[in-house]
């Protein structure tokens, strides 16, 4: 069972952690994560190796991602996948982000209408 309260303590996620988590909804290795995030963000986010390795290490120690396959003899790249705990956190984080966006949209809309009335 996932303890939702303890998962909530990990919020909010950094942009790096968030993108690594959503990338790992399918099994990928570090290089795969990098390429996927670059593609998802249309080249805006280019992970440096220190940043990516640190994030992978950190998310693994928090139990948000887990080792999917050990590295082979030829390939030192390990494959990871999101855990149930990681999935729970992702849903909570999405709800938080949606709330923020919803509020921002509503207030921007209101402000724009307000300006229109003054003219």
């Amino acid at each position: 069972m996932i303890d939702v309260e303890s998962v909530k303590k990990l919020m909010p996620l950094t942009e790096t952690s968030f993108y690594v988590l959503i990338s790992l909804l399918e099994p990928l290795h570090g290089y795969g994560i990098m390429q996927k995030v670059e593609q998802l963000s249309k080249g805006r986010i280019l992970f440096g190796p220190g940043t990516l390795y640190g994030a992978m290490n950190n998310l693994q120690s928090l139990g948000l991602i887990h080792l999917y396959t050990e590295a082979g003899d030829q390939d030192r790249r390990k494959v990871y996948l999101i855990t149930e705990k990681g999935n729970t956190l992702l849903r909570l984080e999405m709800a938080r982000l949606e709330e923020m966006l919803k509020n921002a949209r509503a207030l921007i809309h209101k402000a724009e209408r307000g300006e229109g009335n003054e003219c």
Partner: protein
């Protein structure tokens, strides 16, 4: 035909990382590539000059798998050069594919936090040995003990200085992250 090598002795402190890297970059620009670092002795090999960037990353053994770590760097175009203690030296050609080792301040902050945590252990050991030595020197003073005390004291001062400088760096990074 053997590759020409040279050894250079240079002292760089923990807080002179940027200075060290700039020096290594300049060496590569004049055709000398780092192959090894051992106690302030830098070994270089001669090659074609190029605009190469060096980076020293800090990783403690406990937190990682070296093979995978080096692979992630290699995938980003950073070649592993050598290791000294917990410092790993990498180099990358400075071309259109070049990317920073830490692409955001948050992760850079984590690096220096680890450096800081790792400094605490030797510092406690130094303080501890300083106390033991000074107690012994009170009971039976000797020249040898005085020299030892002086060495430990100097090392402690260096450690305290480095710690303060790194705390300054961490605080600065932290500020820019939370803004």
């Amino acid at each position: 035909m053997s590759v020409k090598q040279k050894h250079v002795v240079r002292f760089f402190g923990l807080v002179q990382e940027e200075k060290e890297m700039t020096w290594l970059n300049q060496m590569a620009l004049s055709g000398w590539y780092l192959v090894r670092v051992m106690f302030f002795v830098y070994t270089f090999e001669q090659g074609e000059p190029s605009d190469t960037r060096y980076y020293g990353d800090f990783k403690t053994m406990k937190q990682h798998d070296i093979g995978e770590y080096l692979q992630v760097f290699a995938d980003c175009g950073w070649k592993f050069v050598c290791q000294q203690g917990s410092w790993y030296y990498f180099s990358s050609l400075f071309d259109k594919n070049y990317r920073e080792v830490y692409s955001n301040k948050q992760s850079q902050l984590e690096k220096y936090r680890t450096v800081l945590l790792t400094l605490i252990i030797p510092m406690v050991m130094l303080i501890n040995s300083l106390l033991i030595l000074s107690r012994r020197s009170e009971r039976s003073p000797s020249f040898g003990l005085d020299i030892l005390l002086f060495i430990v004291f100097t090392l402690l001062l260096i450690a305290i200085y480095s710690t303060i400088r790194i705390i300054g760096k961490v605080t600065k990074l932290q500020k820019s992250v939370s803004e």
